[in-house]
Structure formats: C-alpha cells, structure tokens
Symmetry: C2
Subunit: 719 residues, 2 copies
C-alpha cells in the first residue's frame, strides 16, 4: 500500500495517551487540537476514561470508526504487541516515537527486527522508531507536538529531530515560506528514504524537498528515486558524518581510498541533488529553489550600491563557478543613461550613489540588466530596504515601488532576482513586498550568494540532463559463458579471488587490452613461454593465497634470456614458499613487459550504502600521496567515464605535458566502461583492482589485475 | 605626530557645513549633536552664518579656539587649498570624504598626489580620501553620520563603508558587543593600515581589532605591526579580491604562480592574524576573541541535547583541525552519575533527554567537563534557552540558573564556553544572561563552530610563538664583496639578469651546493672542460638575452665523449643564433650531470604588497598541474623553512615512498635559508628561480639557477 493512506490520515489513534503535560501522549493530543487537525482523534490508554474532552479507549480495537494512523507513544518493549493490535484494526501506518532500538546496540537491534517482523505480519508500515514524528501541514495532522510550524511548499525529511526543529524555527522567523510535510525518518526500520521521496515527488503541493541525512540504509534505491525526482522538483540535502570517514574499511589498496563521503557527495550530485555543506544555507537554498526559476546559462549580474559587498560577492560566486560576464554594449549604454558618471556598468554594476535620492532606480537597473540575453539572474547587494530607514522616510515609498516592479519583472522575465540587504533585520515593508513576489531576501551576503548559485547549479543540471545513467544495474545481462566458467571454477575451488591470469582472461573476454599472461608450472615452461615473447618479460607468482605479490618477493621484471628467466622462476618460488609456507602455488605467470607510459589505477568495490562503485586515479604518488582520485556509482555511461577522468586534478597529464605526447583517452574511457560492464555482468565480483594500467599514445595495457569474489545465492541479484 | 591628537579630537571643524538634510555637511553636525559629542563643533562655510544653532565660520582660520580635526565635506578639487588653511591653523588631522581621487584613474591619481603633497607641507595627516569617515565611540566623535553604533571594545578598520555599516548593524542587532573606534581607510593616501593598527594596539580600551581589506599599500609594514599587535590582542581580518588573482603577472615560471591571495593569507596567519573567509563569521569571530579566553590546547568538548547538531558540529570542527578527544574516565563516570543511561558521555556528550525536566543540568555537565584537564573549551549546541519556550515556562528559571553558573564557570576556569541555540532569535532571558557573562550565543551552528575554532587558532598561535620572524629585512648585512662584484659587473654591462654560471657562483659563495658550471667560449674549451669532469656532462647556452634556454634549443644533456660534446656545442650555438639572431652569446656552460633524485623548485620574487617572498614546490607536474606550492614572506627562519616544505601536499614524497630512500630535508632547509639570506644580502635581486634542485639521500644539487636583477639607487634600501 502507498504512504498516502496514513500520510494524509483522516483519523489518528494516540496510543499511550496521557494526562501529564510533559508526556508526548498528552502533547500530541493537545497539539492536534491547538493546530485544528481536521480529522478524528482517538486517545488510547487502558487506565483512563477521558483526556482533553475526548473519550479514551482501552485498545485500538475498541475504536468505532476506521483509524488511518497510530501514534505510538509507549516504551520500546510494548511496541510489537501494539502493532499486532493495529494490524487487527486494519491501521495502515504507525509512528513509533520510542528510542531504545537499533541505535543502542545488539539488544536494541534485536527488538527492532522483532518490531519490523510484527509490522510486516500485521501489514502496518512504520515511521521510525526513534523519531520525533511526522507532520502534515495540509490537514494539520501534527504528530510532533511542535506548534506553529509554517505552511508552505517544502517537504522536510530528516534524520534528526533537532535539525527539523532548527529548520522549522528558521522558516518561522526569517521567511515567508513553509512546509507541506515533515517526516523524521528515525531508524528507517521499515519505510526508507526513497519511499518518502517517492511520496513527496508525487505530492502536487510539494515544490521542493529538503533533507538532512546522516546515513542511508538503501542508498541505491534512494539515488534511483532522486534521479526521477530532480527532473520534476529540486532536492536540497545536507549530509553529515564526514569526520567519521576516518574509519575506512581496510582491504585492497583501492578499497582503502573509497570513503563513503566522497562517494556520497558525487552520487547525490549526479542524481541532480543540490548538496549543501553549510547548515546556515540549507533552508535558504530550499526556499530559493522552491520559489525562483532556475538559471539557464550559469551567468549572473551583480547590482550593488557599494564596493565592498560587490567585491565579496564576486569572490564567492567565482569560487562557486558562476560566471559574472561583462554586460553587452547596449546594456551598458542604457545603464549609463540613468546612472551617475562615477557608476561602474561593467558587472558588478555599482550605482555609486545614484540611488541615494531615489532607490526606485534599482528597479530600472534590474529591468535593463535582465533584458540582457546573456544574463540569467540578478543578485542585488547592499542597502536596499534601508534607504527609508537610513536617509529619509519618503525614500521607503520609492523602495516599495521598486519592490513591486522587481517582483513583476522576475515573473515576466523568468529570471531569478535574489536580494541581500543589511536592513533585513529591521523588516522594512519593501523587503516584505519582495518576499511576497517570491524574491528571497537575506541579511547574509554569503547566503544570498549561495542561493543564487544553487539556482545556477540546478539549471546546469537540468540543462545537461539527457539519458543519464539512472543508477539501475542490469545484472548478468552481458555475462558470457566463458566468463561464468572462469568465476565458477574459482568459486568451486573455494577461492575468493581469481588468479591474475584468470582475471586478465576475464577482462580480455570483454575487450580489455591486457598484457598476454601465460601460466608456467615449472621453470622449463617459463623459459619456453618467455622465448615465444618478443622483448623482455616479467614473471609473477600465481597463487590464490598470495594477493600482494610484490610483498612476497613474487614479481621480477625486465628479464632477458633463458638463464635469467630460469633463475627468476626459481627465486620467485623460493620467496613465495618463505613468505607463506602453506601457500597453494600454481606456478609463475609469464608476460611481456609493457612499454612505458602514464600509469593509472582503476578499482571497483561494493559500497555499504550505494552498492557497486568505481574509482579512477593517476598511479603512483598521485593516488598514494595526493589522493587525487574520483569515484562514480556504477554503472557508468561514456559521458560519466570521461567526466570522472576530468574530475581528477592530474587529468591534464593525460593530454601530454613537458614534451610528452597525449595518451589514448578513448582507450581509457573504454576500459572504464568494460569495468562497469564486468561488475554488472558478474555479481560475484566483489572488488576489482587494475594497478597499474599503462596508457600509451595509442592504446593501453592492463599490466596487473586483481579480482576478488563473493558467492551469490542461486538466482539472487544483489541490490 | 601620533594619531592620538586627532583620533581623540576635542574639537572638530566641519568644512563644507550645510543646511541641506541630505548633505554630509549637515548630517555630520546633526550626528555629533545627537550622539552627544563632548567636544567643540565648528561649522565652516563662507556662505552661512549659523547652522543648527552653531556659529558658522568663513574659514578655519577664523575659529577662535584650537581645532584637533577637520572633516572636509567639499568636492575633491577644493581639497588642496583647504589643507593649506588647515596647516596654517595648526590642525593635526583631516578626514577627506570626497571620492574622485586615485580610484578613478590617472587624473584622480594626480589630484591625490597633489593632496598628499599639500598635507605633508601643511603637517596635516589624512584619513581617506574616498572614505565614509571615522568614529570615536569613547568621546562620541562621530564623523560618519551613522547613529546608534554600539560602544564596546572592538576597533573597526575597513576599506569599505558598506562593510562597516554591515558590521555595525550586525553588532547592534545581534550582540552586546560594540566598538571603540571605526576608521574607513579609503584610498590610504596618507595614513596607512599599519599606522591605524599601531594606534589601536596602544589603545587600552581596544580588546580586538576587526578589519576588512581589499588591498594594502604597505603590506610589509602592516605585517611588522600586526606581528607586534597579535601578541597583545587579536586581529580578525577578511581579505576580499581573491577572484581578481586570475590576473597574475606574467614573467618567470615561478613568478607566474605567486598570486597575491595565496601569499597574503599565509603572511597574515604567520603574523598571528585570524583570517576569516566568510563574511557571516567576521563580527562573531571578533566578538568571541574580544570576550573569551583563547583555548590553550586545541582540544574541546561538545555538549548537545540532540544527535544532529552534535554530528554537524563534530564534522565542522574536525575540518578546522580542532581535536574532540574522548573525556577522561573520571569525567565520564561523573557525567554518568547525573545523566540518564541512554546518554553518550564520550564526546560529543549527548544528554539524551536528561535536561528535559531540568535544563540546569547543562551547568552541571559544563562544570564536570571543564574540570577535565584535557579539555580546553566547551561548545554547547541545541535548544538551551528554549526549554522555557518549548516545554514549560518554569524551565526558563532553571535555564537562567544554569546561565549564571556557566558564566561564573568560564571566568573561574579561564576556558571558553560558546553556545549555539536555535532559540536565540526569541531572545530568552537566559541567553541574555550568558551574553552578560561574555559567553557568546549564536543561532547559527556554523558560526558557533567557527567561533570556538578561532579561539583555538589564536591559542595555538600564542603557544607556538617564540622568536618568530618579525618580517624585518636586514638588508645587505650578510653581503660578501665577491657577491657584490658579480652583481655590480652584470649591472654595469646594463644587464638585468645574471648568467647561469654567475648565479651559481653567487649561490656557491653563500654555501649552496650547485653543480660545477664552467663557461666554454668555444668548442675546444668545451671538450677540455668536459674531459676534466667524471661521467657525462650537460651543455647549456650562456647568453644574457636567452633566459629560457630550453625553448631556444640551448640545452643538451647526458653527453659522453669529445665528439658528442663538440657536436653539441655547435648545435647549441646554431640553435641560439636561429632563436635570436641578435643575442649576445657568451659561450656554453659545461656542467656534470647531476645524479637522479627528487626534483624541487625554489623561487623568490618581489610581491607588490609584501616585498620579497619565497616559493617552494615539488618539481614537474606537482608544480605545473597540481599547483602544490607554498609561499612565505622573506626572511624565513629554520622553522618557517621546515613548515613551508611540510605545507605542500606532496611533502611525504621527500620522506621516501614506493621503496625510495628519504631525501636530505636538512640540506633543502639550508638551501631555503641561503635563498632567504641572498635576497636580504643583495637587494638588487629581483627574482630568483632554482629549477630544478635535485635532492639526494645525502645532499642536493642546484642544477639550474636564474637570477634577475634590478638597479638600486646608491644607499637605497628597499622597504
């Protein structure tokens, strides 16, 4: 059943209703009353007869009419039994306020599992547990005990009650905007982020979705839903928990670099989500995106009545990658006609005192500037709104006139106007008027800049959107029988990794240019194989028990001649036996030495939150010291592959620097796509590490490949 | 004469006094009256007899009593003549409001020079021109026409009238703190930033100095003064104009990287200045630093009544490099005694509902936490101040009790407490009490985090301070006669650079290990020199007209045997002639090939704002692509040299990675110190470029050295 049944509930049972003012079981009923909930309220408490004028029921089963939602305000341990009753009553959804579940450790997790099982059996969907509740401002279904939350067009979805309180308080005090719904997801035990998101996507009254996230249980489904949503309405999200990324899972070299935070931010942005890092900017960004048109060309103008604010704004916007282009000659000429000679008409436009006598000139400037087809939006910074306060009272009327004009101008041109005013605190009428026309007003210059920049960011996303990856994995579709056999053989032997030559065979099977590795079981075979190869060769140990071959003394490079090859074979075997006496040694792989070139690394792993991801970086110090790597959630498109290469700071090296020829970027892109295909084709691949891959002017060589496996249950498709 | 004479003026002449309400010549008098200036006011206007009850004078010369400061509100062109009269009257200082000077271009610059000459001749010091004025809140000397600026202990020094207005408005609305002085420096035509700074340093009522800077005329003198000041009181500074750094002066390779902004931020911080990047944090940082003790150990605790705020705060503080250590066992035990079982006592401490009935528990927690000797400060985040609003009115009294306790606690422990409260907007009495006790309160979590972090930053600076470089250059002190001769000879020939072997001779003279270069004037000499060198040699063109030798085909490396050397000599000469037919070719330098090692680059140049600076970075792609370089203002100490190496992201490479041995970092530090010494010893050195320097396990080789010169007037010491 969809969430509509209880998100828009027309009747509520408050289980654990109370007469004590400090209890949630009292506050909930009080708030529903005070906020004029337009549905039925049924208090439930076996010990009471009446509460706040309502009849109190012993059990939900005693309630006469239908119940759409249950607010469960009783302790954790009581919840499973209550859910059973809710099921019998046919209540489609419940909010569980109590903490003491998964967040407290092993015992809590057990109780949480029990609650989820009970809910599934009873066909009751759960919000929480460990939540501050939910709020539907369209029918005043207020299940958070918080009064006076402003109504509006933003849906609020958070993992912290306090952050919700912060955001609602901020909206109430600073804005004219408000909310359609609030949901505290709590432990996400049953209903997950992506399900709420889908509900908000389909809600016609919701214009933007504002989220605070600490961690997600089903990140990939969320990305899939977000990707659909952001084509219709913006999602604004703050993700905390960066600092805990210090605890990275050990494991393979590549895996060690794949921290959650880097992956999450990139994935969210690729799904069109506006990721906010600064909590002060979270509500303003949502407010702006819910009320202003996005900027279509990443280009804005700044209009100022003083140098300092304009300079700071230009700095910040440049950092955000927004262009502040020179205005057209025609625009400049028209501005010069109405501004004093000292004014700057380049961009930022500085009125240089031109508005001192008549601040309605701001509207004239705005009209001229937004007519410039090269300008996608306007940021006004400085004193507007304060002319009437600071200089002469009559100027307030001129400001109000300007506000009316600018409000209509934004609607007409479909280009946003954002205003910074240091008089915002004093709430002059002109600024209230701007808000009425959906022009956001901020007293913080930093926030105003951020807000115009997110309009550009969302506009850029919408503009660049076309057949992008939708985060859906097409499991096994491109698997090949030979590939399946390689993996099946390894798994059958009880191995959790492929031998290097098997890994390379698998890569080759899907078109990757790997160096030709052949397994030699003894020194004679090694010499024979080496003699069949032109140029020097490399020898590497082949053992399922030795993953880090160099550490074991299991790699010798650049060998010429039979004698050298024979000696190297023996040395490697000896080293390997010493390194791990019980190792299952299959022999030594013989391969031609790859020509020199630029070394890069490609890796894939399974992220806890998002499933399969891929990493790319330049080899050697660029990965190890500078950590110059980029991540994508798989599968990737050709465009994604190119962008993830360009996202590294070292990418100009591939274009050829210091006299070197450019590398074959197309071959590299193809290899990234092959890796993406392999992970989709064989869900048994847990981790893949191509290190190094050597890029040449034409083509490339996968010199070393490591693939770790995991068993898949028959027919099971991960994700 | 010092600035006291007019900064604390007991009498003001308002030149250009007016009866028109919109004119500054009226507003100034009106404001002095309204704000109760406790000195004499003398309007000056030849056309008027009386203004606002005051006698109006034809000229300053007609005023009977002494005049300490003149506020000049007349147009730019009239200023020189007025200053002459001010001089005759013996007025020590003047504020010039008018714009139309250096900021408008060539003609304006001429007028500005004329004004400065007139002022010097008349012994009048100038504030401005192009300024919004100055403000002394101690005696209500208000020369900015802005009413109601709050009094306090912060001196405000800005280059933008609007930014001053923003900061004063913010103080008025959000804080209990205010200002001693405000000065708008305007064009800095006469009095410079460092002079105001010295005045504020010496002012006993000023506890912190708040600055907004776009650019400085004498950056080095400012650094010298700032370095003195920050030992006594904090300086908080926002520098704008980052984005214009795109326009970097061309010139040498190293020079091209030395953008103003990178240099400025580093230099300011090394002088102990707290550099703020976000304008929202500027006033709060100053407020906090003016009223709280600095943190002595970079370690803080977070106390929260909800998970979301604590998580976000931990993220932000970790980004700022602040430690959030686990509390001691003793502290945890004591916290457990007063908090509910679900509370987290690790750090962040989460009261988990423990304060719901009694918010005075916050004070108990604070007392226990600040007793922990490992904790240097406390950040409280969440709802404090709102318990009385949100839950029950009686809780407000408990909050007030807690506020009194925490205020006294901070004073007793000399450890700062900063509070974030989402109820700050509602101005509950408990929060007003905290402010009374100098505990800063912010509704922004980001701002609260920044504020506690600047206390740590300032504490770290004070702690690490010992005999640091004071930014004073000891010109010529370590010059050597042979060095002087090398430079003199080049300058005498009219050259603006040293030949490579001359540059190396100069470096060698001061102890730098340079490769042994010898000049061969013909092929025979080249062959002879090469034969006297063990191993292969390098040949490089020697011409004062060819600075970029490789571009001219003027470098051939790794030559073995007489034949190869002879052919290389001829090729190089031919290439050079083709590259620049009129070049003065002195021959070819022969040098041994340096052993392989890690390549680094060292450069020095003269920064427009700060004078001599030095740059260091790892050679090759790390400089060219990653721009991984660090800058310091010269001279540098041994500690500075080490820190600038460590400041690059690639510095672990010097410690040996991927099986390489560590490099001789001590030799590198010595070389940086030698470069510093050279620049001080020979003020004729305009730019120096050592590229590459090759580091070995023991020692290093300066392989290529380029030194550009500038003529110095006899006896002139720059700066």
């Amino acid at each position: 059943m969809g969430l509509e049944a209880f998100m828009n509930a027309r009747s509520v049972a408050v289980i654990g209703a109370s007469k004590s003012e400090t209890k949630r079981g009292y506050q909930a009923i009080r708030t529903l009353l005070d906020e004029h909930y337009d549905g039925e309220i049924y208090p439930v408490n076996p010990k009471l007869d009446r509460i706040l004028g309502f009849k109190c029921y012993k059990s939900v089963l005693d309630i006469e009419g239908p119940v759409d939602i249950a607010l469960i305000a009783t302790p954790a341990a009581t919840v499973p039994a209550i859910l059973k009753e809710c099921g019998r009553k046919g209540i489609p959804g419940a909010v569980i306020l109590a903490g003491g579940f998964g967040e407290t450790g092993v015992d809590g997790r057990k109780l949480e599992d029990e609650v989820v099982r009970a809910a599934r059996a009873a066909h009751v969907r759960l919000i929480g547990p460990n939540t501050s509740g939910m709020l539907n401002l369209k029918n005043n279904l207020n299940l958070v005990g918080l009064k006076g939350a402003p109504k509006g067009e933003i849906a609020l979805l958070t993992q912290s009650g306090n952050m919700a309180l912060s955001l609602i308080t901020e909206a109430k005090i600073k804005s004219h905007k408000g909310f359609t719904y609030y949901v505290g997801v709590g432990n996400e035990a049953d209903i997950r982020f992506h399900e709420y998101l889908e509900f908000f996507r389909k809600d016609p009254d919701t214009k933007a979705i504002l989220m605070y996230v600490e961690g997600m249980r089903e990140g990939r489904k969320f990305l899939q839903q977000a990707y659909k949503t952001t084509q219709e309405k913006p999602i604004i999200l703050l993700k905390s928990g960066r600092s805990s990324t210090g605890k990275r899972s050990a494991g393979s070299h590549t895996g060690a670099l794949a921290g959650m935070s880097e992956v999450a931010k990139g994935a969210f942005e690729r799904a069109g989500i506006i990721v906010i890092e600064n909590s002060d900017e979270l509500f303003p960004a949502a407010e702006t995106l819910s009320s202003c048109p996005p900027i279509r060309n990443n280009k804005i103008a700044i209009l100022a009545d003083g140098g300092g604010h304009a300079t700071i704004a230009a700095d910040i916007l440049t950092d955000y990658g927004i262009e502040i282009p020179e205005l057209s000659e025609k625009t400049k000429t028209k501005l010069r006609e109405i501004l004093p000679p000292a004014a700057s008409v380049v961009n930022p436009v500085d009125v240089a005192g031109g508005t001192d006598d008549d601040p309605s000139l701001f509207a004239d400037c705005a009209r001229i500037i937004l007519k410039d087809s090269n300008i996608g939006g306007l940021l006004i910074v400085g004193l507007f709104g304060g002319y009437g306060i600071r200089f002469a009272k009559t100027l307030a009327l001129k400001e109000e006139d300007a506000a009316h004009q600018m409000g209509k101008l934004m609607a007409k041109r479909k280009k946003p106007i954002i205003l910074h005013s240091l008089y915002n605190f004093e709430k002059p009428h002109a600024l209230e008027l701007l808000r009425y026309y959906n022009i956001p007003v901020y007293d913080s210059l930093d926030v105003a800049c951020k807000c115009i920049s997110v309009l550009a960011q969302y506009g850029n996303y919408l503009r660049s959107y076309h057949a992008k990856t939708n985060f859906v994995l097409n499991w096994r579709a491109k698997a090949k029988p030979e590939g399946d056999s390689i993996i099946a053989a390894a798994l059958e032997e009880g191995r959790t990794s492929l031998l290097e030559h098997e890994a390379k065979d698998l890569l080759r099977l899907h078109g990757a240019p790997v160096t030709a590795d052949r397994l030699a079981r003894n020194a004679d075979e090694a010499v024979e194989l080496a003699s069949s190869i032109e140029g020097p060769v490399a020898l590497k140990i082949a053992s399922p028990d030795i993953l880090h071959k160099s550490d074991a003394g299991g790699v010798i490079l650049d060998l010429k001649g039979a004698k050298a090859v024979r000696r190297a074979f023996e040395t490697i075997i000896k080293n390997a036996r010493r390194y791990r006496p019980d190792a299952d040694i299959r022999g030594v792989v013989v391969s031609p030495m790859a020509a020199k070139g630029v070394e890069v690394i490609i890796g894939t792993k399974i992220d806890d939150q998002f499933g399969p991801i891929i990493m790319y970086g330049l080899g050697g110090i660029m990965v190890e010291i500078i950590k110059d790597v980029s991540f994508r959630v798989l599968p990737i498109s050709r465009l994604s592959a190119r962008k993830m290469i360009e996202a590294t700071r070292s990418s100009p090296i591939l274009d050829g620097v210091r006299g070197n020829k450019p590398c074959d970027k197309k071959a590299l892109i193809n290899l990234l796509l092959i890796c993406s295909e392999l992970v989709e084709a064989y869900p048994e691949i847990r981790e893949m590490d191509l290190n190094p891959v050597i890029l040449h002017q034409t083509g490339l060589d996968v010199v070393d490949a490591r693939i770790l496996l995991q068993k898949q249950e028959d027919g099971q498709k991960p994700d």
